[in-house]
């Protein structure tokens, strides 16, 4: 039967969420002839709808449902109701992402083996490695049109990059370039080349940046095998007496509850909502939530070690012009414990508009120390730090029964404490970032605290042993055969790289596995 599908059609694969994980999985399965119903909590916004205005766009796209925070991270104080800056829309956070598309380094798949025992860290090796992922990375790079992979050229560098590059070279850094970006440097795959507009975070109005919203989703729909239901917010995953998943209960656009039956359910709601949904789906058979025999659902929340360094110069930079994330220094991404921490970090240029710079440069600050910084806005350059953070069992998503969302369900609480390794790495990165700008004449440098999390990972982690995690090497839950996790919450560890390319590669791989198992009659 072709899409749209009946609520009682129990032959369909239901995918919850349509971002880098769910959106790609939906298309990949649809291309293989599998019937898919994708349930997306947000609405559908396309390039003509995106807004070149930071706060207005935030209001259009951001996930703003009730959430709470705790822990020693500064976000819990400065943005207590906004632990994460992610998107509620068809295509998910692929509308908002900067486009950085980096493969994991080989050693990062085996963090426990390579880093050893780190006190307080719940490190684990992934049950897969770089060799196994290489063909899927290549497929993902081809799908996204990643620059500097295949025969695709790099993007030209903007002003912000030129300052960054000159500083990096003065410092002796070698691996400095305009990045491997899912932003077209030339027309590719029916998407045009980057027009250096800026506002990458607000949705690319040219479609030059890859987003599932205008690639995988419509292509999946064109097969006739994919039905995307917008503004369909899943409340609970249902199972039968044998523990097998039977379908999902969701609130539709009008707030009415609907029950969609399913052969398989794949959860891809981001690392906050996915564990929350498993926990909110607790039943008499699974009192601790679905797929939680390990007790690891919601734990090991990763957000990457982040921060920013901005600097003011005596002459204009105009960092907002052009690609938001316009280049990278990779020299510090190696694992080199002599620096005082395990794992590594990337430095990537970043430019915010004046409204977001005012909100994020030093949240809560006031007076002339703050305002003289903004007075130098036109002469400012900026970079973002993204490094591997340590998984900790106590960094976790839990249900806050005192706060309910618009559907009456307990809101997620996001607890995060920095690990000493995270702090040591951040301090090192602040020092190196400042040195980059000092090397080209910065008059003032700002070590800027982490923003609300954009890389949310790890809360349903992949493990060889069912005791250590929630899903196996295919993202299939250890406990329930027809329940899969398809987003970044599968991550066993975070590595130093921006996660989207790996989420996409895992989704392509998972689609192969699910289709194969369906054909064999195993699912």
């Amino acid at each position: 039967m072709a899409a749209p599908y009946d609520m009682n059609d129990d032959s369909v694969v239901v995918i919850i969420g349509t971002g880098a994980g769910g959106g790609v999985l939906a298309n990949e399965l649809a291309q293989k002839g599998v019937s898919v119903v994708a349930l997306e909590a947000g609405g559908r916004y396309l390039p003509e709808d995106y807004i070149n205005d930071e706060w207005e766009s935030f209001g259009q796209l951001a996930w703003l449902d009730a959430r709470t925070t705790s822990g020693d991270w500064r976000v819990a104080n400065d943005f207590s109701g906004l632990p994460a800056w992610i998107v509620k829309a068809v295509g998910g956070t692929t509308t908002h992402w900067a486009g950085a598309s980096l493969r994991f380094q080989d050693h990062e798949w085996k963090a426990k083996t390579n880093y050893g025992d780190v006190q307080g860290a719940n490190l684990l090796d992934w049950p897969i490695d770089g060799a196994e992922m290489a063909p899927y990375y290549e497929k993902a790079e081809t799908k996204l049109g990643v620059t500097r992979t295949g025969d695709r050229a790099g993007l030209p560098g903007n002003n912000n990059f030129k300052v960054f590059e000159a500083g990096a070279k003065a410092l002796g850094y070698k691996e400095v370039h305009t990045g491997r970006m899912a932003i077209n440097s030339a027309d590719y795959d029916d998407r045009m080349a980057c027009q250096q507009t800026g506002f990458c975070f607000q949705g690319c109005k040219w479609g030059a940046k890859w987003s599932a919203a205008y690639t995988d989703i419509p292509r999946g729909e064109a097969t006739g095998n994919l039905e995307v239901r917008e503004r369909a917010h899943v409340l609970k995953i249902e199972h039968d007496d044998s523990g097998k998943i039977t379908g999902v209960l969701y609130a539709d656009a009008d707030g009415n509850q609907q029950m969609q039956k399913a052969r398989i359910v794949c959860v891809a709601g981001n690392s906050i909502e996915s564990p929350r949904l498993l926990l909110n789906s607790a039943s008499s058979m699974f009192p601790d939530g679905l797929a939680n025999s390990s007790g690891q659902v919601g734990r090991n929340y990763l957000r990457h070690m982040t921060g920013s360094v901005y600097a003011v110069f005596d002459k204009p930079v105009k960092m907002w012009r052009g690609t938001t994330m316009a280049g990278i220094i990779q020299d510090e991404s190696r694992h080199d414990p002599s620096r005082g921490f395990v794992g590594g970090y990337e430095l990537e240029t970043l430019g915010l508009g004046l409204p977001f710079m005012a909100a994020f440069l030093d949240p809560g600050a006031w007076g002339r120390e703050f305002t003289t910084a903004l007075d130098g806005y036109e002469n400012m350059a900026g970079m973002w730090i993204v490094g591997e953070d340590m998984p900790q069992e106590t960094n976790r998503i839990t249900l806050n029964h005192d706060v309910k969302d618009q559907h009456g369900l307990p809101a997620p609480n996001v607890h995060f404490d920095d690990h000493p390794n995270d702090i040591a790495m951040r301090n090192h990165a602040y020092k190196q970032g400042a040195a980059v700008y000092d090397a080209v004449g910065a008059t003032r440098v700002f070590p800027t605290p982490p923003y609300p999390s954009t890389h949310n990972l790890g809360t349903n982690r992949m493990s060889e042993n069912p005791r250590d995690g929630v899903v196996n090497k295919h993202g299939q839950t250890h406990d329930i055969a027809n329940l899969f996790i398809s987003d970044g919450s599968q991550f066993t560890t975070g590595a130093a790289e921006n996660p989207t390319l790996t989420i996409v590669a895992l989704a392509i791989r998972q689609a192969d596995h699910i289709a194969s198992e369906m054909n064999k009659g195993n699912l």
Binding site: G157, F199, R321
Partner: protein, 174 residues
Amino acid sequence: MTMGSQKLTLTRRDLLSHSVAAGAAFVVGSGYVASTSAAWAMEVEHLQPETMATLIQMARDIYPHDHVADEFYAAAVKGYDNADSAETVESGIAALNAAAVGLGFVSYVDTGWERDRVDILRGMENSGFFQTVRGGLVTGLYNQKAVWPLFGYEGESFSKGGYIDRGFDDINWI
């Protein structure tokens, strides 16, 4: 509130002869606050004009930009002139003035040096009133499109074709 010339029926001479000094802004007669230069005026309905004038000065002292005119600070706090906020704002400003009197000044706006007002604000920076005003200014001030050019920020660029042909890489000093 009305900005610009529409409400400016008073001449500069009227302003100077009828107004009471209240920091950066002047209170003009009843129900009006205007700038000393008569570049703008605003009507207040729920707050005392002196209260609004003090609030505008407080906004500038929190986020002081010497190249940003008072009208933008006034626009940033105009939203407090409503029936629901009036009592909170009046008592918050009263506390501000009481703190100023405690330090030997006549009122908050009568202090002279910015550092004296900053000392007063530091003493109340954990109060709900201060944090509400400060937090509101982050968007109230910096998200005004008319303010952006004062910082060099160019805003929307899609309608102009982005910067591919308009200087995304025009830096000439690096």
